[in-house]
Symmetry: C2
């Protein structure tokens, strides 16, 4: 079933202790859309400038991503630059240039308005809400967020949360949002803010999914061993994209907890591939059979 | 089959943001022995002073722990004092008084010398080696260690590692020992130092077990959700004790990787109970049926 993804499309400059790459394809919607495309080619809602390389558009097209909702406007594409430390869990943002993103007003093409699955990729919660305003009764809404919005746009985020079925955020963000150091308590508190389900990503340590406690809806997703981590950029976006893509490809009338567990593992699989190279280079070469093999590997390493 | 546990027996003073308890039963061997006793009552090798409360001795005895190897000598019992921050992952040691532990020379009773399973609880690696010297061809040796020994007794530790089947240590210790931030790489490097298996404990994030890569021996143990963490002291010792106890109760001729996976989950189960109260208070009330129920819960929350 159709899946809509809104977020940023960016040109990133990424520095790690061993390599540096300038103006490479990045942005939450780029990563999420390509990851989702392995399961359900999504409708992409985003904006780029007139400097955005045609080859990236072609790449999206080759992944069967619907680009009717991708606005191309005069000006420069959104740019982000960051540096990773020797411990790749440590990242420093070096610069952000919003450029065409500053006046981005997401307007949905008519045939996106009845799309049942929606992934609100990591952008300002006000923009995420504006997208949701244009969708008629979506079946399942996944939203991602980040520490910046929790700090500078908390009210917008709090208004958005009751409209979200699954909120995805990382461990430090969950602690920041709830001001509690215990992740289990934090997940319970976030559920009370509105979302039916909360997924806390823990980077190399896997992820947690919390639903209705009275239904025993809890999933502890194992971590996958990545020995050759080259660039963590976009891991969270690929996670959200893979997750939403898996949900969208299902033909079930409602999203079950069992399906959500699988979606989280598929999201983890996509993320684990993505960090093996810079930008979307690893996903560019990824074959569906590799995804299924790693999913099986996830099962093998975590069963007892 | 018999299991020998060496380590410290201590009187702890533990402070958390909400409570403080003075001179409560603690020490690596206390926690490990009580945890193991749910599966295989161990032989305890340790030392206490003449101030050690008789009621703790009686408690050990009630757990069917063999106390022939517990020396009681003139002087004061080993004392440790620590404080946990609001984020309970943060701990500060306030004081350490070795007391009778300073001149502890572990001497094994004759009938301990053929014990097949050995858990070298967290004490100086020189002392751990001296215990191992006295055991004839043990079947399986588990060793725990800590950052202090990695820093101040590295040579002793490096000499011990080739004699160990399974080294258990936490994530920050694994990084310290190998000077690498990636836990998977760290685990591989530690295996090259000697132990057949390496288990990296990640606190609230579960644990990793690495064996022979050519045999695909890798296990990612899920984390268990503990919302009401009261006192993390002894969690690692209960983990090691539960793990070793489960291995010892098996009647299998060799320790298989499948059995090790289960042992790690049982260790996690014991640790997850222990942190629900101070000292050994939770384990005091623990019923075997609760252990099996939580083991099943571990399976339920991590399957997909």
């Amino acid at each position: 079933m159709p899946l809509l993804i809104v977020g940023s499309v960016a040109l990133d400059t990424v520095k790690t202790p061993t390599e540096e790459h300038a103006d490479i394809l990045g942005g939450s919607a780029s990563y999420a859309s390509v990851a989702a495309s392995f399961f359900e080619p999504p409708q992409l809602v985003a904006v780029v400038g007139d400097d955005f390389p045609e080859r990236h558009i072609e790449y999206f097209r080759s992944r069967k991503i619907d680009l009717t909702g991708l606005q191309q406007v005069p000006g420069e594409t959104f740019r982000w630059s960051g540096e990773y430390m020797v411990d790749m869990n440590q990242r420093q943002t070096l610069s952000v240039a919003l450029n065409v993103f500053e006046h981005f007003n997401p307007t949905l093409p008519d045939d996106y308005r009845t799309t049942p699955y929606v992934l609100l990729g990591n952008i300002a919660p006000g923009l995420q809400a504006r997208v949701l305003d244009q969708v008629e009764k979506p079946k399942f809404v996944v939203a991602d967020t980040m520490d910046l919005w929790i700090t500078v746009a908390r009210e917008d985020l709090m208004n958005l949360l009751p409209r979200v079925d699954l909120l995805v955020l990382n461990d430090s963000e969950a602690k920041l949002l709830t001001d509690t150091p215990n992740l289990i308590k934090a997940a319970h508190l976030i559920r009370k803010m509105g979302p039916r389900y909360v997924c806390i990503k823990k980077g190399e340590h896997g992820a947690l999914l919390l639903g209705d406690p009275s239904e025993d809806e809890f999933f502890s997703c194992p971590s996958f061993p990545v020995a050759n981590l080259l660039d963590p950029t976009g891991a969270g976006d690929c996670f959200a994209g893979g997750l939403a893509g898996h949900l969208a490809r299902s033909e079930q009338p409602t999203v079950t907890f069992a399906e959500l567990r699988q979606a989280i593992v598929y999201g983890s699989v996509l993320a684990s591939f993505n960090v093996e190279a810079f930008s979307l280079e690893r996903l560019r070469k990824l074959r569906p059979a590799e995804i299924e093999a790693r999913y099986a590997e996830f099962q093998r390493i975590s069963q007892f």
